[in-house]
Point group: C2
């Protein structure tokens, strides 16, 4: 009888490395990554390598969770994302992707955050609608590959019918504003980020399957998410929240108006923290210059591989999704 | 007219990111990685994720080129290899692989070394002969995919016929001892490592194509390379040296005799350095325990993706093989 919960623990993890539970996770992860790769190839995305030891441009909004690194006397960071480097390749290829080990120095070791995880990132010419088609496509391709290769195992885990159900129809979509309306009794204010509890509630309202929440408030999202033409308080973005795992994909159009982009950077919460550390707009110069020279409308997303894996496995602890769950207090 | 040499430079690299030369490198790299992935899938290798922020067990023999990192008060390192973590999965899957961004703090910025590069690693149950079949197979699959997708470009670069020639026959193999005999006039002593100049000479003697050099002296190789049953001064290892790039793959049987393995670790050059830094055999305990419990004969290799790319492109500078060549004095 499989007991995936054995894999929650981080200490003494090597003693579990060759258990049947670990085998199940490995083979499902192998299928999931192949489902992603196959989709990206079919859709004409070009794989591009990106650096993971970077300037501040390897940070996403969570600049307070950067691992700092010395690079022969220069201040460097372990990349959280390869997004800006991928975006730089849009003019040449129109559709690009990469996969990195994303590093986040989250100090609190919990069931939702790993200090390192696999992050699949893609960028494409086009708007949010084109991107969401790809986002839903890649997730469904991952699920299909897992079902195809592991039907018996997924039956045993009582996940098979559930995953089939997720595939049957388009993922539902609601706006952030509508979500807040549904959550009112939970005392959320427009402009607050959603908690994982609130995500769970929304998923339960929308049929217990992956759910897109779109058009988040500009002020809580990354500086280069493109603002909506009709409502400049929101950005053309979407988070995909998945059962068990919560936020699993972050997706958005990228601001391609250079002037607005610089202004958004300067006004961002992230930049306030960076300024206090001596950083300036110049640290983003290479990226900003590229957008100035080639202001192509493009969109991209980052898929937290281990969150998807967690959701497919149907477990409440992300540590189960990997052999080497890195957290505070443990190293492998 | 394509001039790949434009891509040698590291400073101001963003201005080259959307050149036709960068496009050629990107699409060839995309084909190469697909060639590798397809081969590994066909041969039944399971992809497994490995950590890249690790204990000392993420080091290969070059412990003096480790990036040090603080992990909430614990000493950690940016992984050079995921080998030992992959080996831990052998009992479960027999054949496993991964791809990581390998980090090497080589201080000297030159045309042969990047501080970060893509490293494809595979481990399998079986001996060196079985492994070398896979090693040659994966490299040839990479070349074939590049030729299939980019025949015109490779014609233009005058690489097409050359790469076809490499595919036509098995890669030649010589022992290290024979190589040293051929190099005698160059004043090499048995036991010395080969210089890149010497590698180039050997390649010229063996038809200017990829060449396996096997059975290196034990004392200059990683502690867990398995010693030869008939000659205990050498290990059952092979380096694949490729035109233009030199050493591109390191392959070996892994020592599966626990007692001998511990002794080899303690006697290794690497361990001398580590001891002076306060490390002990205990830092390798998880790995050593696994070998003790499941002493399965297995073998593995690490493929320096950018070296293969450099060789396929036919260029003398590894910086040409990537959009973001990380070296001392530059960050992206």
């Amino acid at each position: 009888m499989l007991n995936l919960n054995r894999l929650k623990k981080t200490k003494g993890r090597f003693s579990l490395i060759n258990t049947q539970e670990a085998k199940v996770v490995d083979v499902i992860n192998n299928s999931l990554i192949w489902g992603a790769r196959n989709f990206l190839k079919e859709q004409g995305f070009i794989w591009v390598e990106v650096p993971t030891l970077t300037k501040i441009t390897g940070a996403c909004e969570n600049v307070d969770t950067l691992y700092k690194q010395d690079h022969f006397g220069e201040k460097a960071y372990l990349a959280q994302t390869g997004q800006l480097y991928l975006e730089a390749k849009i003019p040449l290829h129109k559709k690009v992707w990469t996969i990195i080990t994303s590093s986040r120095a989250e100090e609190l070791a919990d069931d939702r955050h790993l200090n390192q995880f696999q992050l699949i990132e893609l960028e494409r010419q086009g708007d949010l609608e084109a991107l969401l088609k790809n986002t839903e496509g890649i997730i469904k391709s991952m699920l299909k590959e897992a079902l195809k290769d592991n039907s018996e195992t997924l039956q045993e885990l009582e996940r098979y019918d559930e995953l089939q159900r997720w595939l049957a129809e388009p993922f539902p979509r609601i706006t952030y504003t509508k979500a807040v309306g549904l959550l009112k009794e939970r005392e959320i204010n427009w402009g607050d980020d959603l908690t994982s509890k609130e995500e769970k509630y929304l998923i339960s309202v929308y049929g217990n399957k992956p759910l897109f929440i779109t058009h988040f408030p500009k002020k809580i999202k990354f500086f280069n998410m493109r603002q909506n033409d009709d409502d400049e308080e929101v950005v053309n973005s979407a988070d995909l929240i998945m059962p068990y795992a919560g936020e699993s994909v972050g997706a958005a159009e990228r601001e391609n108006n250079h002037e607005r982009l610089v202004k958004r950077l300067q006004e961002s919460q992230m930049f306030k923290i960076l300024s206090s550390q001596g950083k300036t707009v110049d640290d983003f110069k290479d990226y900003l210059d590229l957008i100035k020279e080639k202001p192509i409308l493009h969109s991209g997303c980052g898929i937290g591989f281990n969150r998807v894996s967690q959701s497919v496995l149907g477990v409440n602890d992300i540590r189960i999704s990997t052999n080497f769950p890195l957290q505070r207090g443990v190293l492998y």
